[in-house]
Symmetry: C2
Subunit: 218 residues, 2 copies
């Protein structure tokens, strides 16, 4: 598959590019094309140096990548995502869109601040064409651990979405990352649960002297 | 300490009685005193038969137990808890009250249905005298596993509460149960997060063919 990663030069984007490039063609996106191209080169080199196979990581502009992709990963901050997607809407057809987006604010602690639709995933589905299949996942995967290829990630990834086939594809992509276990979290309406876990996990880490927390359901 | 367990003849109540009786005096409560007395006898026998020490498990009426207790565990369903606690209010002074209460309903799936205060824990704090210290914990511990004394419970228990000393006491009680790790979840206002995890976990188990799910933050 061709996987476009929006926000691909950010830390979590790097992890997905590195982990999925062995089986998929990665289109690494950034609004700054130079940065995208240079990160793509750096990630490719890192993979080859470590002896991994690489199907290709290409630095792209958002528009081109979305147009070409089967799967679009939204690893961008909530702030700005509405404007960004409204601008990019014409390039979407029927892709699978994986939303990692978490609306939250920080006062003393982090707080989940969902839009009126109930979650970022539902808001994103509303902005994009109806034929696009939004799936919500990976909000609680540590960017640092994801990018560390030697690490096996003994976490669970809860996947929410209304299109069963799209959800199965994302669950399959999850299984391709060593030790991640995908769990079916139901429809997109349940996304608020996994989105709201993110500020909760950050607070929990801060309060208890932990870091890079993920979740495991045992 | 003297620990009163309201709903003590229910499955999760049994687990707490068995696990804490080694170090604490357990007041096992039920509205039906006969049932409380018979369960207390049964649990004591089970502990002694397995070679455990038992400080004493006594079947009591709610009123007597609350009056005598240092810690009151509310392991009762949400439905009816408001009426129950309004009736029992005169027997509370400054005890620590551990709320396991989760307001939820089932349609096709389970859904968290918090009261207007935002969570059951906040509603309970509002009903009880101000001097009572409500702490929210243990919503996501499997009753079945808790009652199986041979099992080591490799779970995390997030504890929320506004009174630091009460919270520390509950965290200490948590550590006394083999392998449970207490984590500070902040003030009582954060209780909605751990309460809402319960229907989420039940749905997750149902959807993925799992059972008795707990949570581990790794």
């Amino acid at each position: 598959m061709k996987i476009a990663i929006l926000g691909g030069t950010g830390s979590i984007g790097e992890g997905f590019a590195l982990r999925w490039a062995e089986k998929h063609e990665i289109l690494l996106c950034s609004r700054e094309i130079d940065k995208a191209v240079s990160s793509a080169g750096k990630y490719t080199e890192a993979l080859l140096n470590k002896g991994f196979f690489c199907c290709g990581i290409t630095g792209c502009k958002n528009e081109t990548a979305i147009n070409d992709a089967d799967v679009v990963v939204l690893s961008v901050p909530y702030r700005g995502v509405v404007t960004l997607l409204k601008d990019l809407r014409p390039y979407f057809r029927d892709q699978i869109v994986i939303s990692l987006v978490v609306p939250m604010k920080k006062n003393k602690w982090f707080e989940y601040t969902p839009p009126k639709q109930g979650s970022a995933a539902l808001e994103i589905q509303e902005i994009l064409p109806e034929t696009v299949k939004v799936v919500s996942a990976y909000h609680n995967v540590s960017a640092k651990k994801l990018a560390a290829l030697e690490l096996s990630l003994d976490y669970d990834v809860v996947v929410c979405g209304d299109d069963d086939r799209a959800k199965r594809t994302v669950m399959e992509l999850t299984r391709e990352i060593k030790s991640l276990r995908p769990l079916d979290g139901g429809g997109l309406a349940s996304s608020y649960m996994i989105e709201s876990l993110t500020p909760f996990l950050i607070n929990l880490a801060l309060r208890n002297g932990l870091s890079n927390l993920g979740v495991k359901f045992v």
